[in-house]
Symmetry: C2
């Protein structure tokens, strides 16, 4: 069993209205040290793959096929052997 | 400058309908190896803090005050010195 931790974020060139809203709220709450906020998706996937190489290939096909909007998003992932607790 | 990478996830006991929907779609696309999918928020925050301890404290106050719904969500974060590229 493998566990992938996938981090999907907007490309740098894409405006992040959600992040800007949170930034404004934090400033409004008095947190003046905050410089920037960007919000994305964090996805944990458990999968049964024969080996690490196959698991990596599968995760990439999930991301490219369903989880990531390639036009505006980018992703990276960590792969852990065994389902981390 | 510090950069915090915050991972907000649903508590284990909370049903994740979004994750279940993605799991179903992946199976429908023929990806039979997938066992479980859980979806959360990934938040990158850049902040000017005097030192690491102060930065940690600030991030915790952002999470507890705004970014995390303590009833159903839990969080962890990594703290990087300098804004990572």
């Amino acid at each position: 069993m493998f566990e992938a931790r996938i981090y999907v974020t907007l490309k740098e060139s894409v405006l992040d209205p959600q992040g800007q809203a949170v930034l404004g709220s934090l400033h409004h709450m008095g947190h003046k040290n905050v410089q920037d906020v960007r919000i994305g998706k964090y996805i944990e996937v458990k999968l049964n793959s024969a080996n690490e190489a196959e698991a990596r290939q599968e995760i990439e096909s999930y991301c490219n096929g369903l989880l990531v909007n390639q036009v505006i998003e980018t992703y990276r992932f960590d792969l852990l052997q065994g389902a981390a607790k």
